[in-house]
Symmetry: C2
Subunit: 479 residues, 2 copies
């Protein structure tokens, strides 16, 4: 694929104009405006030049303001437009006049309102963009968020750089992902909120990311797609090299109605999308949480890890639920081999416990020697691909700080050295104690352990992960 | 139904013996032993007498110890047995000799291990119990937890009294419920962990609770049931008066295998259980979280509340997900009537917002006057039964303490006074920020607002709640 060098400048701009920046007056209300973009760029330490455009101001936030993009003294790599819809066509004419080709229209109130006047403005925007070869992103979106360029489009986040791109038709979902990604080790190359997709659609960004060296995994949130065939072709091509993780929203009729009022999208038919996923092998998720889970899994586990799990937790009733959940989510919980069980029974009593799988063997948590022996024994079983430790939130209380540190070292040490190459991951169980569960998860993540918020989430991620690699393998060998 | 007056004494005992209490030595390891039961009763402030039984001790935890139940100087209302399996038959003979009829066998290592010697001990226990009319609970369980009698069987909990009973084949699940119930306003009449159900089965407790004046709602966690017909008959009879909420574990084949190793239960067939729920109208749940959600709903909402929801949150992408989730969980999100939409548009701008439903109208959260007007307008629409506020965890940051207090007062005030009699409830969205979400939820619950952990959980609870009342109504009128 050929690289879009015009668009490239929008992701690593030297000069940005923001059209429609009101003068700063104390605290800013929640929501996104020209002023909030200016402040976010300053906060992120953006190293290029920013030009606030406001015909009535000379300085805003200690930055010289200009009356229009035409008065800016250098070539603009990106113009962020945050003026009312009716003024947008005029701004685009100005951009055209100075050769500023990358335009992010933040303004909402276009086709998604269903109003005739808005549709008319959209059609004028389209004409200008086509005439001048403008790359128009939006309207009704938050545009480009690029940690490596210190371009921040969301507040209250950690600006984490990494190999994950996100193409999102929703600014809210993009915000959710950049908020929760860093906690589980996900950093971003490019996050693109593109809203109504009047001109630039998901496929245009996908094409760009295919040849972007900063991007190894592509996540997408889609409501509508203009060219379904192009999407299918691009995803099928890209997915084997860079896993494509997709959340398709609005597949229920009420969801489709909401998508129409959100981005003016036609959300499309469930059968068509089912066929799309089957053909492309793209990884299907249903929420930002699932997107983060599967992305984290791709980043952390070896491609060879399958979805046959040994579950080690504790509590018999718990294990019945555990088994039901795994089976519902299509993760195998095979009976351990007789040899493995015999070896476990050398140090695990059967009173109040079980070594079938899920293992009800809380006693091994009493000492890291026992735990390590249990992990080694279970991981060596050829029917097992991955070991899931299923830990309750209240579990933290039972351990001294020393015992907890020893536990962490035991698990992370096992993952570094285990001969069988099978990972031990953790699934947390909150029992209504979200804060405790969060603390437990955070402590484990700090030492590099892969932690899922619930067992169901672990199973879903592992299943999708294994299916992805199976699909790629089979496609490669032509099975 | 006739009341079981023998069993009654176990729930409000004057004298309890605990057989198998080792002498206290410093901190106690996690897990349940005779000594931990003694300490828990002391901690709870149990007002009757407790007799630790240990042939080698004279005093344990400042309480006089006795060599056997036969040496205890008064009639025993309950005997807790925590000695190794092989010694249990002998203890039961002693109980029989002194007329102690209620026996809770905590000890594990019976039929669930699959070992022949354990099966043999079980058969001796059965013979003794049948001979003497003993009410044997267990083995392999935690027995009776009765807040009103200050009998506590679980540690690190709030001893909350209330109208909810829980009959649980798993001690772990019972613990999970008593841990998380109080936070959402659930107090307990009786919590019964009954393990292997060698003698007393779920149906025996159900029969007791049917005539128990302290109990208004019955929750159950079942792995196996000995007499399915009796269960069906009892639940069908009880459910219209006291809602019966049931989690049936082990319905997958792997889950059934785990149930066998847990309580030695035959978990049974999915079709049979589907028919059971259809015939009885019992409320089906799949986890302790769902059990708590639906119980909270029964305790707090009027029976007339149906499952046609107006959702008020904010964020367009969010609302697409919201709509999809509601539809997947069978909660209606009707388009608001034209009259309602016209009234909303008097104060809600369509730019970046929508009043179709889900409502994307973040602007009304800026003032309680607007919010109240929005709630009133939406709740007055005849197509709506309930209003769900869908709030993000990060939402707290946008509000000053005063604004948050005003918001809480607005919602709880609306619920006290609203003319349409339709409740406003809250569903929290954590965006990977569990701690923030928990704080938000707690703050709202403190002022009496009904809060669900996620929108999906809210939908599931509201759907089950509405279905329950529909079933009861239709059964009553013979539709």
């Amino acid at each position: 694929m050929t690289h879009d060098h015009v668009l490239e400048r929008a992701f690593h701009p030297k000069a940005i104009a923001i059209v429609g920046v009101s003068r700063a007056e104390g605290d800013h209300p929640p929501g996104y405006t020209g002023l909030s973009f200016l402040r976010l760029l300053q906060k992120a330490g953006f190293e290029g030049r920013v030009y606030p455009i406001n015909p009535k101001a000379t300085v805003i936030e200690d930055v010289k303001a200009y009356p229009s993009v035409k008065s800016v003294p250098e070539a603009l790599d990106l113009v962020i437009v945050a003026v009312p819809a009716v003024l947008v066509p005029h701004v685009l004419e100005d951009c055209l006049a100075v050769g500023a080709l990358n335009i992010h229209i933040c303004t909402a109130g276009f086709g998604e309102t269903g109003e005739a006047v808005a549709k008319e403005i959209e059609s004028r925007i389209r004409d200008i963009a086509l005439k001048g070869g403008l790359r128009v992103v939006g309207p009704n979106c938050l545009g480009f968020h690029v940690p490596s360029a210190r371009m921040q489009m969301y507040d209250n986040i950690e600006l984490a750089q990494g190999p994950v791109a996100f193409i999102s038709q929703s600014g809210g979902h993009a915000q959710a992902y950049v908020m929760q990604g860093p906690a589980v080790g996900i950093g971003f190359s490019k996050v693109i909120s593109y809203g109504n997709a009047l001109m630039m659609d998901s496929t245009d960004f996908l094409k760009y990311l295919a040849t972007d060296p900063e991007t190894r995994i592509v996540c997408m949130y889609l409501e509508g797609v203009r060219d379904g065939r192009r999407l299918t072709r691009l995803v099928r091509q890209l997915n084997p090299q860079k896993p494509v993780v997709i959340w398709k929203g609005g597949l229920t009729s009420v969801g489709a109605r909401a998508a129409d009022t959100h981005t003016g999208s036609l959300a499309g038919d469930r059968d068509v999308w089912n066929a799309f996923f089957k053909q492309t092998g793209a990884i299907r998720v249903g929420s930002i949480e699932e997107m983060a889970d599967v992305t984290m899994t791709i980043l952390r586990l070896k491609p060879s890890v399958g979805a046959r799990a040994a579950i080690l937790g504790g509590g018999g009733g718990n294990n019945v639920a555990t088994a039901d959940i795994c089976t519902e989510e299509d993760v195998d919980v095979p009976t351990l081999s007789e040899e493995t069980r015999t070896r476990l029974l050398e140090f695990v009593s059967l009173v109040n416990q079980s070594v079938v799988n899920p293992l009800d063997a809380g006693s091994v948590f009493a000492s890291t020697l026992l735990l390590e022996r249990a992990l080694e024994t279970v991981a060596a079983d050829p029917v097992i691909d991955v070991v899931i430790l299923h830990l309750g939130a209240n579990w933290r209380k039972w351990f001294s700080d020393e015992a907890m540190a020893a536990f962490k070292e035991c698990v992370s040490g096992f993952n570094r050295h285990n001969a069988a190459g099978k990972p031990v991951v953790v699934a947390v169980q909150d029992h209504g104690q979200g804060e405790e569960a969060e603390k437990l998860a955070r402590g484990l993540r700090e030492v590099g352990i892969t932690v899922y918020g619930t067992l169901r989430r672990a199973c879903r991620a592992l299943r999708r992960f294994a299916d992805y690699h199976k699909f790629v393998e089979e496609t490669k060998t032509g099975v």
